[in-house]
């Protein structure tokens, strides 16, 4: 039995009507655990940092460092949903939104590593590898371009922060810092978080208890999102097929919409973008045809952070929602701006094709590219900025 079969067996999904009910109940339970985990991180971070949350993340106050932290963390975990949920939890605990925004952008870049690795599986088939690799890296180049355009604008004008703030205030009420409209979540989530808090505090000091809560929350989010992804993939594969069938031959808007919808359903942009790799690799879909699907994945993945934000209560609830809305706004704007301007739209396509051509001639380019973009360049940039004291 190989690794995959073993994993699939461990989360066996019964496809009978009764089995489906049980699986949907499992998903409801896992979503509840996700909310508890986010709230636990928020409470733990607040407990550990007191009023010094900003100072704790001083090292990431440089937007470039925040971006790189988000990129590398997501590339290592291979789940932007996990990282953005953790960020939402940290904002709930006092992490400033300005520091969180570049991290969220970094998560967008980091998540693209998964489909690029998946495309390496086609390495022995020349033309197929070219198509698969370009289908994977077009997502990378789009996200890199989006950050290149929007991060400097955000640093200069803070427009995403302002839009997110306005939307969050509109949703929760400008006169209130607690999420009145979503108050039904609070009584559900608070008891287990209070239980964990009281017990950890009884065992150790505030700081240690807070750190333990953050670690527990992160571990729980990681586990929950992995399990939800596996369950949803098995349960909704038929639905994903229907959505893809309905998008065939319908043009880019339909492609973006179906990419968004599939990602919302499976709660993982990596799944959507990786699914596209073999479809493009076979040559049945062209790079231009699959491009909109990958953009939709960027939008769809923001749902997890929004869901996570609903778990947050108290004074920072509005900021947690704000950062989740920044994630959504950033991705919608990036798609709207880059895809609607043809010269910009062509940049990721051309870059992906050129890199794929080079990677077919010399396979080392493929591995070198992954190492360079996701690990070496971020570390060099962090090192450089620390040395220069920027």
């Amino acid at each position: 039995m190989n690794e995959t079969t073993a994993t699939a067996t461990s989360i066996a999904v019964e496809q009978t009507p009764k089995g489906n009910w049980i699986n949907w109940l499992k998903i409801a339970g896992l979503v509840y655990l996700l909310l508890v985990a986010v709230s636990t991180i928020g409470s733990g971070f607040k407990l550990a940092s007191g009023d010094h949350a900003k100072e704790l993340f001083e090292f990431a106050s440089n937007p470039l460092t925040g971006l790189i932290v988000g990129t590398v963390a997501t590339a290592l975990i291979q789940s932007s949903s996990t990282v953005t949920s953790i960020i939402v939890g940290l904002v709930a605990g006092g992490l400033p939104v300005q520091i969180a925004i570049p991290m969220i952008m970094g998560a967008n870049i980091g998540t693209t590593i998964t489909n690029t690795i998946v495309s390496l599986g086609h390495v022995r088939q020349g033309a197929e590898f070219r198509r698969a690799f370009s289908a994977a890296t077009v997502h990378d180049f789009f996200n890199l371009l989006a950050v290149l355009i929007f991060l400097p604008l955000e640093i200069m004008f803070g427009f995403l922060e302002k839009i997110g703030g306005t939307l969050a205030n509109m949703m929760v009420g400008a006169d209130s810092m607690s999420m009145k409209g979503l108050n039904f979540i609070k009584p559900l989530v608070k008891p287990p978080v209070t239980f964990v808090k009281q017990n950890t505090e009884a065992m150790m000091g505030d700081t240690a208890a807070g750190i333990l809560m953050v670690v527990l929350g992160i571990a729980l989010i990681f586990m929950v999102i992995t399990l939800i992804g596996k369950l949803l993939k098995s349960l909704l594969v038929g639905k994903a097929k229907d959505i893809l069938h309905s998008a065939v031959g319908r043009g880019p808007i339909s492609g973006i919409a179906s990419g968004t919808l599939i990602t919302v359903l499976v709660q993982s942009s990596s799944t959507t973008t990786s699914l596209i790799v073999p479809l493009a690799g076979s040559g049945v879909f062209t790079l231009r045809q699959i491009f909109p699907f990958t953009l939709g994945a960027n939008i769809g993945t923001t749902v997890t952070a929004l869901l996570a934000a609903t778990a947050v209560t108290g004074g920072n609830a509005v900021f947690a929602l704000q950062v989740a809305l920044v994630h959504l706004t950033f991705n919608i704007l990036a798609v709207a701006v880059i895809y609607s301007i043809p010269p910009l739209r062509n940049i990721p396509l051309v870059a992906a094709e050129k890199l794929a051509d080079a990677a077919v001639k010399n396979k080392l380019y493929a591995g070198g590219y992954i190492l360079l973009v996701f690990f070496i360049a971020p570390l060099v940039l962090i090192g450089g900025s620390q040395m220069l004291g920027v």
Binding site: V118, G121, V248, T271, V284
Partner: protein
């Protein structure tokens, strides 16, 4: 022998109609292939779990190219 302007316009119109028809037929074939590929999406979903298998597939190829690089 020269063709009249009207004859040429007529020929172009016919060609354009024929071309549009061929394009439509090609699009239908392509879309049919795309629907067939989408029908296999569940198989691809299983492959997605094998990221490490992809790396295992890549590693010997990269190693060979690295050796070739140093042989030159």
């Amino acid at each position: 022998m020269y063709e009249s302007k009207a004859e040429l316009e007529n020929k172009i119109a016919n060609l354009e109609t024929r071309l549009a028809d061929l394009k439509e037929r090609l699009a239908r074939i392509e879309q049919s292939e795309q629907h067939d590929a989408v029908d296999h999406v569940d198989e691809y979903m299983e492959v997605l779990e094998q990221e490490f298998a992809s790396l295992r597939e890549y590693w010997p190829v990269a190693l060979q190219e690295l050796r070739n690089l140093f042989k030159k």
